[in-house]
């Protein structure tokens, strides 16, 4: 029988070996990991240096900055870890269910393995900085070491507790799908939020005065220190401020919180060790007919379009792309309208007119999506190939599905944006440019999608990351797919510019040219992409099959 110690060692070695193998699995992974490690080092080293430098600052400044900073890290830690590992969790209790080990013997090893990895290394360096910052007196030094140990342990325990709680939920496909979409929305929210905040800072609508800033921080920090994420990190602050009772209370609360997190993890883990399999609840029934089916012809292309429409909603990867595409015009509009207030009046009208063109961007994104759609099929594409569907029907079916979903949305967006900007005179140009970008993009996408495919992990296999990358070929293809439609739309854009600057009548020319040119390129793309597919179905199937 192995002892607890050797079991711990075995688990840590296993974790390191798997991480190493995963990191070294491909050139893209090696490069990606190197970049990530450099970025982490690049952020950690200045932070460490900053914390060393903070030794000379007042107790209040150190307390406020360090407590709120580390509390935020403690809050984000479990979320980040869960997103990175997803359902591919090596430390998942289910993996140990078949072995004759009790939980008590597994836990030390699992804690150690959880501390391995980039996050653990980062926390070690940051912890050194934190302790150094408080090393101005023996009392605060000891308090900082205790605070760091308890805080780090809380990070580990809470990330395991969250993963264990989610694991129960994530065994159901429906919940897994939903989680992927929600996580994506959270990330989008974060990135839009930071953009808004930084722009507001630049525009002066949020204070940049250091005194006001620190006053605000001081208020926030004193609240944060009283949350479960701040208790342990506030220890040296309370002690240095001469509040021994507060420090003791925080220590007790921090340890209690750690014990609670560890208990939740252990409890869930123990439950999963003995009840691994379940049916995952009642499967959902879909009885309603899709009303959009009536719009589609009873041809092979129509069948592929019907499937595509269903997949937009039922495949989380495609649902995410739908949401992302719909957000693009709004992101563009938000960043443009922020600059509006400062602009002189004559420029404002021009900017409003340009803003009216934002919906065309959605069309551009849709087109890029059409190009990659076949990659998301994975090996299921085989069931389509054996039916003998022609490449042309395949291309046309995918274009139809995207058109039926996005064309009405684009129309609504165009009308909405024009109502907002009240620039009705540019409407013909907007419609023309949008049509050109969408249709040309779909044509180019249909053609490129027949040449290059990149295997994608199947729907619901992991929350983030592990996306297929096609190396140099994939990069080249996505560049062509992105920019060739823009270049080919330039004549229509030129007409739209003439309408803005010379005579609005050019707008009507842009409208006609947009649809005409777009239809021509779409027809060409579907035809040549289809022919290529007919010649290369087996090779395409091999390329879209995910070997993960």
């Amino acid at each position: 029988m192995a002892t607890t110690g050797s079991l711990t060692g075995a688990l840590v070695r296993l974790q390191l070996k798997l991480s190493w193998r995963y990191t070294m699995s491909s050139v893209a992974m090696k490069v990606g990991s190197l970049i990530m490690a450099l970025m982490l080092l690049g952020s950690v080293i200045p932070l460490m240096w900053g914390m060393f430098a903070m030794r000379g600052t007042s107790i209040a400044t150190r307390g406020e900055v360090l407590t709120s900073g580390f509390a935020l890290l403690t809050l984000l830690w479990p979320i980040m870890v869960t997103m990175m590992t997803g359902s591919n969790d090596m430390l998942d209790a289910g993996r140990f269910a078949l072995y004759p080990v009790r939980m008590g013997r597994l836990m030390p090893g699992l804690v150690c393995s959880a501390a391995m990895g980039l996050g653990g290394v980062m926390m070690l360096f940051l912890g050194i900085g934190y302790v150094a910052s408080w090393s101005t007196s023996p009392g605060t030094l000891v308090a900082a070491v205790i605070g760091w140990i308890v805080g780090f342990a809380t990070c580990l325990a809470s990330s395991r507790a969250l993963a264990a709680l989610l694991a129960d939920v994530l065994r159901r496909r429906k919940a897994r799908d939903l989680t992927i979409v929600v996580f994506f929305l959270v990330i989008m929210g974060f990135s839009i939020g930071t953009q808004l905040v930084s722009r507001s800072l630049a525009a002066g609508s949020i204070t940049t005065n250091p005194d006001e800033f620190f006053a605000g921080l001081s208020k926030t920090a004193s609240i944060i220190a009283w949350t479960p994420f701040g208790w342990s990190w506030g220890l040296p602050w309370a002690l240095a401020s001469g509040q021994g009772f507060k420090a003791l209370l925080w220590l007790v609360l921090a340890i209690a919180w750690l014990v609670l997190m560890a208990w939740v993890w252990a409890h869930q883990f123990g439950k999963r060790l003995t009840s691994q399999l379940d049916a995952g609840g009642e499967a959902e029934k879909i009885t309603k007919a899709n009303p959009l089916d009536a719009l589609l012809p009873a041809t092979p292309a129509g069948a592929i379009a019907k499937r595509g429409l269903r997949y937009f909603r039922r495949d989380p990867r495609r649902l995410i792309s739908v949401i992302a595409i719909l957000m693009v015009p709004f992101l563009m509009a938000i960043s443009m309208s922020m600059g509006l207030n400062d602009a002189p009046p004559d420029q404002r009208i021009l900017m409003m007119q340009v803003l009216t063109f934002s919906p065309a961007l959605a069309g551009w994104m849709v087109a890029i999506y059409v190009g990659w759609d076949i990659s998301y099929d994975g090996s299921a594409l085989a069931t389509q190939i054996v039916t003998g569907v022609t490449g042309r029907d395949d291309r046309w079916g995918r274009v139809l599905a995207a058109l039926i979903l996005y064309a009405p949305i684009t129309v609504v967006l165009i009308i909405g944006f024009t109502i907002y900007t009240r620039q009705w005179q540019v409407l013909p140009s907007v419609v023309g440019v949008s049509a050109a970008l969408t249709l040309i993009g779909m044509g180019i996408g249909s053609w490129i999608g027949s040449i290059w495919q990149i295997p994608q992990p199947p729907a619901g296999s992991s929350l983030v990351g592990r996306n297929g990358t096609g190396g140099a070929a994939g990069f080249g293809a996505s560049m062509i797919g992105m920019f060739l439609p823009v270049i080919m739309t330039l004549p229509v854009v030129a007409l739209a510019a003439l309408a803005l600057l010379v005579n609005p009548l050019f707008g009507w020319l842009a409208l006609v040219a947009g649809f005409g040119l777009g239809a021509l390129v779409l027809w060409w793309g579907v035809r040549s992409g289809g022919r290529r597919l007919d010649r290369t179905w087996p090779e395409v199937l091999a390329k879209v099959t995910w070997k993960g």
Binding site: K306, S379, T383
Partner: protein, 281 residues
């Protein structure tokens, strides 16, 4: 009982101790339903299919048997247009699969193994959309879909996403998709894997009826008992080559198929000496 009814016109008495169904007489001189000539496929240094030639007569249930890695799936993938052969010619009912894929594929119904399905569709949607891709009018496809779902005991799950199906149910819906357009030749890769005995019996009777009405079935399997009781003719392959080919009785040569198979493949004598600790307390 199923075996008796599936071949009611056969007047010959069933000998004792034999499987209760007599294999159909197979005419290897008839124009083949599936013809492979000098097929070669290599993956790097590994030769998966090695100069394989095979003619499957029409109107029979043909079994392709072999150990793991023998080249069964590779061969069937080349027949169904999913994998391009390095050399050789494949024709299906007179149509060259790689020169004229459209007309060859129209005659075939295919159940591939080891691939994902478009599993975010419900069982019924998958059947109806397969029919539409095959050019079967909806008015014809709808009653066929209902009948297939009923025969394969999937009616209650027709509106459930295939992603939520069990492995056996997924196999069955794949089989239904292979039959919905009423093909002349059905290619099935491991059709009985993870299928429960009741559904297995249903699949057997569906396949027998199909062959009795003139269709041809080519199926792969590594379960010898199954092939022995189900198939009329068989090819034993190993390392990408054919070791034996013929009517089932002819290949068996008076022995159980399992025994004959082990002889043909050349079974390694498993000495259990080093495993003597197993089961000792």
């Amino acid at each position: 009982m199923e075996f008796m009814t599936s071949d009611p016109l056969d007047p010959s008495p069933v000998p004792d101790g034999e499987p209760s169904r007599r294999a159909r007489q197979v005419d290897f001189n008839a124009t083949p339903a599936m013809l492979l000539s000098h097929l070669v496929k290599t993956f790097g240094a590994k030769v998966a299919v090695n100069d394989l030639s095979l003619a499957v007569p029409p109107g029979c249930l043909f079994g392709l048997v072999g150990p793991n890695g023998a080249g069964k799936t590779t061969t069937l993938s080349m027949v169904t247009g999913l994998l391009r052969p390095d050399q050789g010619v494949i024709s299906v009912l007179g149509r060259d699969v790689w020169a004229d894929p459209a007309s060859a594929k129209a005659l075939m119904g295919v159940l591939p193994d080891g691939i994902r399905l478009f599993d975010r569709l419900t069982g019924r949607e998958m059947l109806m959309l397969t029919a539409q891709m095959r050019g079967v009018p909806a008015a014809v496809a709808a009653p066929r879909a209902d009948a297939l779902l009923e025969a394969l005991t999937l009616t209650a799950d027709a509106t459930t996403l295939v992603a939520d199906y069990s492995a056996g149910m997924t196999k069955k819906i794949g089989l239904a998709c292979a039959l919905i357009h009423n093909p002349s030749l059905v290619i099935l890769d491991e059709p009985f894997e993870s299928v429960d005995p009741v559904s297995g019996e249903a699949i057997r009777s569906i396949l027998h009826d199909f062959v009795d009405r003139g269709g041809t079935v080519v199926m792969s399997s590594h379960v010898m008992e199954l092939v022995e009781t189900l198939c009329d003719a068989v090819a034993v392959i190993a390392e990408g080559r054919i070791l034996a080919l013929g009517g089932i009785e002819q290949v068996k040569n008076g022995e159980p198929l399992q025994q004959r198979f082990l002889e043909l493949v050349g079974v390694r004598d498993v000495s259990l000496g080093s495993l003597s600790w197993l089961g000792q307390s």
